[in-house]
Structures are given as structure tokens and as C-alpha cells.
Symmetry: C2
DNA sequence: TCATCATCTTGTCACTGACTAGATAGTGCG
DNA sequence: CGCACTATCTAGTCAGTGACAAGATGATGA
């Protein structure tokens, strides 16, 4: 921004990451161009490559950052429901990260930083059902809860529940969802 | 494929759509190139443009086709659980369609064909909870069920439940998920 | 002071999407 | 039958992009 006189940018890596988040939030990952990001940061078209190697590298770095943020968001949630609420909150507050994190074909799956951050987030997710020792299969229970939160978050970001939501807060709506489900009010079969 | 002697391809539209599905299923929508699809179909690089106008048009056509297939898959399911199972089945059998359908930034949101197909699928989803007249809010119930199925399907396609699944069939696993949830065995709060 | 290294620039290549103009084939209408 | 009309496809072109290579610049430390 401030017309720099120095040859070096100073913090190009962060500048590019931040600009990438803006672009993705606005127009999706497909609209992301390394050259455009370079222009926004005021550097030459090939400068970002030194920090991220290539487009996939940049997206992988974003995803790793996202998993780190998710782990922070989930940390020390009081109970399972609240963990789900925070999962939804993360998706709402970091839509660009969320999108990239769950598109494996955009990422370098074997990246060490990505794997580490993913493991941290995964541990937080597992911690949500760890205390439920009375369950026959805690892992399956965890996936059930994860599916619900992830599905709602995804439908939210893809504008598929916009009209049902109305003016209500997404997090509150999700709370009511879980309430409805777990009150056993929703018969699965033979509703007639 | 068969070295055509005629000037016209015959069914270029279908050929391009089919090739696009292959590419997307293999490497994601980002790897899709109109010129590559043209090469695969054995036509000139600009031929597909006549059928789909541009890249977004092609993806929109794919999404519309997907919503149509989804509506067919969901039609006349016996009960709500089975509707969820079929939703998961659709995602497994048509991963390329599923991916494109839920990335709005790739699509032309106001396309008439897309909107019509989406409405058909949406009607099938709503039909799943229509009979449950004892519910206070059928719409919220529908979103709860949709979230669960969509979340599981998404996590499945993004390879996030692979190890938990083991050798078991995804549809069976989803049935057990719903059983676990609706048996009320999963306490949301104060699990201690 | 000077060597070393990370950072950034410049130049280049093949590829892509989009657009244009024109060639070719099928279709209906007289 | 012949002729216009339209859909389909070809060929050529342009700007933008990712990736790579080689060189310039500045910071760091011995």
C-alpha cells in the first residue's frame, strides 16, 4: 500500500495470503490468480512463487492456516453441541478458508504443515466425544455430529438455507436444529 | 472416437459433458479445460463454445443435469431415512456432479434450466418431511435431515471419513449414523 | 569488508478462455 | 427440385495465466 522504496516487500507472504482470502471470499478459488495477487501486493508477477512455489502451494498454505484457526475455535468448548456451534461459527467467519480446506483437489495432500494443522483440528473434534464413555462407538458418534455441523455449514455457505434462516443468527438456528434432532422428534421411518 | 468423416460431430454436447465428468471426477473442476474437452471429442478448440457459450455455461449445464439426476434418485423413497441414504448414494455414484452442484461460484445462478432442475430436486427433499404433520416446524426438520446427509456425503467425497468407514458400505454406515443419532444416545451437553 | 543467502525482477514459453469471421451441413419452404 | 435459413463446426487471433530460468538487490553474519 504505502509506496515502498525498499527493494524487498517486508511481509509479502502475509500480504499475498490476505489478498487471496479476499479474492476467494468474493469470487471463489477459481478466480484466484497469482499474478493478480502480485499486482495487489505491488510486486512483480513471479514474486509470490518464491514463498509458495505455485498455485497449489498457496492454497495449501491457506488450508493449513484454516485448520489451525479451526483448532483454536474448537478448543475448550464446554460440550458437544457448543463444539458444533463453533464449527458453524468458523465457517461463517472464515468462508474462504473453509472452502479451500474441503477441496482436496486444490491442495497438496502430503504437505507437512497441512497434515500437522489438520491433525490438531482433528484432535479437537475427537475431544468432543471423548468423554462420552457410555457410547458403544464414540468414533461413529463423532462422525455423526461432524456430519451434521459440516453439512449445515456447507449448505449455509452455498446459500442453500438462506430463506429458511430468515433474520435469525446461523448459530442460533443450528442450536435449534440439534434440539429438534436430539429430542427424538424426527421419525425416520414410517412417519405415517 | 470412430474417425468421423462428417463435418458435424453428431452429439458433441453429450460427448463434452461426458468427458467433463471424467476430468472432474479425476482431478476436480479446476483441471477442466474447454480446449482439452474439444481435443477429446476430436473437434476444433472453439466447437464446445457453441453449445455452452463458455466455461461457466458448461459447468452450469452439468449442475442442472446433476439436480435432475438427484431428483430422480430421491423420487418415491419410502421414508425419510431412505431418502437420506439415497442422497448419499447419489453423491457416491455421481461425485463430479455433486461437486459442481455445490460450488455456486462456478455456476450461472440465474440459468433457467439450472433453477428448474434445482426446484425439482428441492421438491423431492421437501416431500421427505411433508408427511410429518406432528412436527412443529417441518422446514427446520427438513434442513436438519438435509444437513446430516449432505455433511456425511461431503466428508465422504473429501476423504475425511475414509479410515472410520473401513470396508463397510457408505450407505450402510449412514444408516447406522442415523440410528445412533435418533436413538437419542448422543447427549449434546454435559456429557460428564 | 566481503561472501552468502533469501528475496524480488525480468524475460520467456506453452496453455487457456473468449471472441471473430467464415466454411459446412442439415432442414424446411417455395 | 432448388434455395434460403439456421445450426454446427473450423480457423485465426488476443490478452491473461502458471511455471520456469537467470539475474539483480539487499540483508546477514563472519
Amino acid at each position: 500500500m504505502t509506496s515502498r522504496s525498499t527493494y524487498h516487500h517486508g511481509d509479502l507472504r502475509q500480504a499475498v495470503l490476505a489478498a487471496a482470502l479476499d479474492v476467494i471470499a468474493a469470487d471463489g478459488p477459481g478466480a484466484l490468480s497469482l499474478r493478480d495477487l502480485a499486482r495487489r501486493a505491488g510486486v512483480s508477477h513471479a514474486a509470490p512463487a518464491h514463498h509458495f512455489k505455485d498455485r497449489t502451494g498457496l492454497l495449501t498454505a491457506l488450508a493449513a492456516q484454516g485448520y489451525g484457526l479451526l483448532a483454536e475455535t474448537l478448543a475448550a468448548a464446554p460440550d458437544l453441541r457448543e463444539r458444533g456451534v463453533r464449527y458453524v461459527r468458523f465457517a461463517v467467519e472464515h468462508p474462504a478458508h473453509f472452502q479451500v480446506m474441503f477441496q482436496p483437489d486444490l491442495l497438496r495432500a502430503d504437505d507437512p504443515d497441512l497434515l500437522a494443522a489438520k491433525e490438531r483440528a482433528s484432535a479437537e473434534l475427537r475431544a468432543g466425544v471423548a468423554g462420552l464413555t457410555d457410547l458403544p462407538d464414540a468414533r461413529t458418534a463423532g462422525i455423526a455430529a461432524w456430519s451434521l455441523a459440516h453439512g449445515f455449514a456447507t449448505l449455509l455457505l452455498t446459500h442453500n438455507v438462506r430463506d429458511a434462516l430468515g433474520d435469525s443468527d446461523p448459530e442460533d438456528y443450528f442450536r435449534s436444529l440439534t434440539g429438534l434432532l436430539f429430542a427424538g422428534q424426527l421419525p425416520l421411518a414410517e412417519g405415517e
